[in-house]
């Protein structure tokens, strides 16, 4: 059941973290995970490796010191949970630690901080920043890299991992690639994970419940599948808030009768809706197909791209004056570009308006010109200056230079993340 309460969290006794850099390979995952977990292995500088998962569970290990600068680690992570990986160097030194969120990029360019796997994954050496001077960017001086480190996956890892792309990541509410626990909400240069008072309202987080996150795992209760982080999915948990009172009893015992009644009513409606939905879905097979978002890149996409390039080459060789040529062109629309999520942006939306006539990340047809990787700013500004009665010149007149710059940046970024397709 998912019924909202405000309760103080009973925090387990503090246990000092094991020092890192030369720490043992001390994974927090217990042997119980062996049947439902996979090993994430790799090498890093002396590092704390942490995985924060969608149910609020936390898994960590330290790299193992050896005589080289590349320290191996093995982290057990549950299968069938989407998790986010974070690496921290100098983690036992609050003044000098550097936190690096990791974003995985598979062979086809799909990328996300969220991932899951059924199989063991091995990462090549990740050369992390060891001091603030080596950081790429830390404008708010919270010792967290402002953008996640992109880790390109090998062919084997790409085929094993599931890159999970989602519009609304409950662990990363602003979708900036840094999970909520690593944000610095109150701007005191202490990340929420380390901050006693995340919102600087004078109330310690353990007593503060104004963030709708009962278990303080960085996932709002509405999005949390395990509100009390007791390891039991709320749908199966008869005591969501772990206060020792069964949820059903809690409703009748509650002082806030009106509020509880309202919640109860909503809950019942939700349950009925869910049942209806299941019935309906059963009747339409196709609807089952897309529940969970996984971008699994297939070898055939590469093959399709090669075929497409070949087709384009052949097209160039045809006699341009042959009218039949256009018919053939119409018969052979190249294969589609794989879906790759991106966040809403002005550049993305404006650039999409070019795709009717140009190849982009969404349009596999070359059209008048392939814009992936193209710098369009100069050309469009020149067209505006020339002011000719040509279709593309008129389109250039439709946009101001700022808009052209946004589109130019978008297509440039496509080039950086995907390469020439």
């Amino acid at each position: 059941m998912k019924i909202k309460h405000t309760i103080p969290i009973m925090v387990s006794a503090a246990v000092l973290l094991v020092a890192c850099g030369g720490g043992g390979n001390n994974t927090t995952s217990t042997p119980d995970l062996s049947k439902s977990s996979f090993n994430l292995t790799g090498t890093v500088p002396g590092t704390l490796i942490e995985a924060f998962c969608e149910d609020g569970s936390y898994h960590s290990t330290h790299s193992e010191e050896n005589e080289s600068n590349e320290h191996p680690f093995t982290l057990k992570i549950p299968t069938n949970l989407s998790c986010r990986l974070v690496m921290t160097t100098n983690e036992d030194d609050p003044d000098n630690k550097i936190i690096t969120p990791i974003k995985f990029v598979n062979e086809s360019g799909a990328s996300s901080i969220a991932f899951s796997s059924e199989k063991d994954l091995h990462l090549d050496f990740i050369d992390l920043a060891m001091n603030s001077a080596e950081m790429h960017s830390d404008e708010n001086q919270d010792k967290v890299e402002d953008t996640p480190r992109e880790v390109a996956l090998s062919s084997n890892a790409s085929s094993a991992i599931k890159i999970i792309i989602q519009a609304n990541d409950p662990l990363d509410s602003d979708n900036d690639g840094t999970i909520n626990l690593l944000e610095d909400d109150d701007g005191d240069h202490i990340i929420n994970l380390d901050d006693d008072d995340d919102d600087n309202d004078g109330i310690l987080d353990i007593d503060d419940n104004d963030d709708d996150d009962s278990d303080h795992d960085g996932i709002k209760d509405d999005d949390d599948i395990d509100d009390d982080n007791d390891g039991i999915n709320d749908e199966s948990d008869s005591d969501d808030d772990n206060d020792g009172i069964e949820d059903e009893d809690e409703i009748s015992d509650s002082i806030e009768i009106d509020e509880v009644d309202e919640v109860d009513e909503v809950d019942e409606v939700d349950e009925v809706d869910e049942i209806d939905e299941v019935d309906e879905v059963d009747e339409i097979d196709e609807i089952d197909e897309v529940d969970e978002v996984e971008v699994e890149i297939e070898v055939e996409i590469e093959e399709e791209k090669e075929k497409e390039e070949k087709d384009e080459d052949e097209e160039k060789e045809k006699d341009e004056d042959d009218e039949d040529e256009e018919k053939d062109e119409g018969d052979s629309i190249p294969p589609v570009t794989p879906p790759v999520a991106s966040l809403p942006s002005a550049g993305r939306l404006l650039a999409s308006q070019c795709a009717q006539c140009h190849r982009t990340d969404a349009n596999p047809n070359k059209g008048f010109e392939d814009l992936i990787g193209e710098e369009i700013y100069g050309d469009l500004v020149e067209m505006k200056r020339e002011n000719k009665l040509e279709l593309m010149h008129l389109h250039a007149n439709g946009y101001n230079e700022e808009q052209i710059r946004l589109m130019d940046d978008y297509f440039n970024n496509l080039s950086e993340t995907k390469g020439d397709e």
Partner: protein
């Protein structure tokens, strides 16, 4: 909470998690909101595709009664035999298999805006968080008009083939009469394009034939100079153009257009009636445009101003933008982006742009074009042509004809591939 409490709090729960059964589905936020798109033309197919392209975690269902879509774009080339219907026919395989759009091949019998459900012809109800409707157009009734005898051919497919069949059977020296409805209607240059192409076809294949154009508008509404030249020079002696002609009734058996200017007898009669939004717009009480024929929407999101959580794009929306496949595709992207933002609790992008472009074949090897870029004008809450961006080709050319296929094939791919 500091590091030695929160991290270890989390850590202490890691073991407990290990003992629990892991969830087999993602929670509500990651599972994906449900977006239903009704209509698989240029607007609907583009919306479904881009929703999944940009946000693969969304659960997007496209409801379209036909398994294939016949494009109105290039369809006049089927009439003159340069293209087959198959050349301009598309399916939804890429949307389904590559993008993960659920395809439901059924009619919709009703929409419950308050309950946020769509009821299919099979009586199945589907829930949505956001609904996008792109039903294209419908026609207002004309007394005596029987489309089985007098085709409109303004929606592609069987109607197109019927018109072609009638033209092929028309004797030399015959008369082709077509009526053009008052604007707005689908594809502003389309009727004039058709008239020119039919004239070109008759000139070669049915010598001595006539093309009579009965236009309800006070003048040729787009590319006036180009079309006037085609009618008065290129097809002089074949085309007769009449403006301000109001169609009052049709004798479908005798193929007579009965108008305010008299009766026009045809060997082949092509009546394009007054347009209205797709029927589901009116039956769902969404046609709140003052004309009663279109759905008023916000140009920022295409959300209905009548019923929240319902968006209307393409020919059925009433923003005043042209009704055509290219700009329907453009509107769909603005709508898809807005829906994604709204589902995330954000506001639609505040300065959306769309654009319209259309190439018109006017013979077997010449074409013209027409274009314009539209930007959001906050002072009037409407989309307006950006000054300097609207225009048409300087007459026809063979180069335009070649470019037409590049344009169309790209647009087809951007929508369906």
């Amino acid at each position: 909470m500091n590091i030695s409490s929160r991290r270890n709090f989390l850590k202490s729960l890691g073991g407990a998690t290990a003992l629990a059964s892991f969830p087999t589905i993602l929670n509500a936020a990651t599972k994906g909101s449900r977006v239903i798109v009704i209509g698989g033309g240029f607007a609907g197919a583009t919306a479904a595709k881009y929703l999944k392209h940009w946000s693969p975690d969304l659960n997007v269902t496209l409801i379209e009664p036909n398994a294939q879509y016949h494009s109105p774009i290039l369809s006049n080339l089927v009439i003159n035999g340069q293209k087959s219907l198959n050349d301009i026919t598309f399916n939804y395989n890429a949307l389904k298999n590559k993008y993960g759009v659920n395809i439901v091949t059924e009619w919709v019998q009703g929409i419950d805006g308050a309950g946020k459900t769509v009821e299919l012809s099979s009586n199945v109800k589907l829930e949505y968080d956001r609904l996008i409707i792109a039903p294209g157009i419908s026609f207002l009734p004309v007394p005596g008009l029987d489309f089985n005898k007098v085709p409109h051919a303004w929606q592609s497919g069987d109607q197109l083939l019927l018109l072609k069949k009638q033209l092929d059977a028309m004797p030399a020296g015959g008369t082709f009469v077509m009526t053009i409805p008052p604007a707005p209607y689908r594809c502003p240059p389309g009727p004039y394009e058709r008239a020119a192409l039919v004239a070109d076809y008759l000139k070669t294949n049915k010598p001595g034939s006539k093309v009579i154009i009965l236009d309800a508008n006070p003048k040729i509404i787009v590319e006036e100079e180009t079309f006037s030249h085609e009618f008065n020079v290129t097809y002089a002696g074949i085309v007769e153009y009449y403006k301000n002609i109001k169609l009052e009734a049709v004798d479908s058996d005798k193929r007579i257009a009965i108008t305010n200017a008299g009766d026009f007898k045809a060997d082949v009669l092509n009546v394009i009636p007054v347009h209205s939004a797709g029927k589901i717009i009116t039956t769902s009480d969404l046609a709140n445009h003052p004309s009663g024929r279109w759905a008023n929407v916000s140009p920022l999101s295409y959300e209905s101003t009548k019923t929240p959580f319902i968006h209307v794009i393409g020919d059925s929306q009433g923003t005043g933008q042209p009704k055509a496949g290219h700009i329907a595709n453009a509107e769909a992207k603005v709508c898809a982006d807005a829906v994604i933002r709204l589902l995330a609790g954000d506001q639609p992008y505040a300065a959306p742009m769309t654009n319209s472009a259309c190439y018109s074949p006017l013979s077997t090897n010449t074409a013209s074009w027409l274009t314009g870029v539209f930007g959001y004008d906050a002072s009037t809450d409407s989309m307006k042509v950006v000054p300097g961006s609207g225009g048409a080709s300087n007459g026809v050319s063979k180069e335009n004809y070649k470019d037409m296929f590049t344009w169309a094939n790209s647009l087809f791919a951007d929508t369906f591939a």
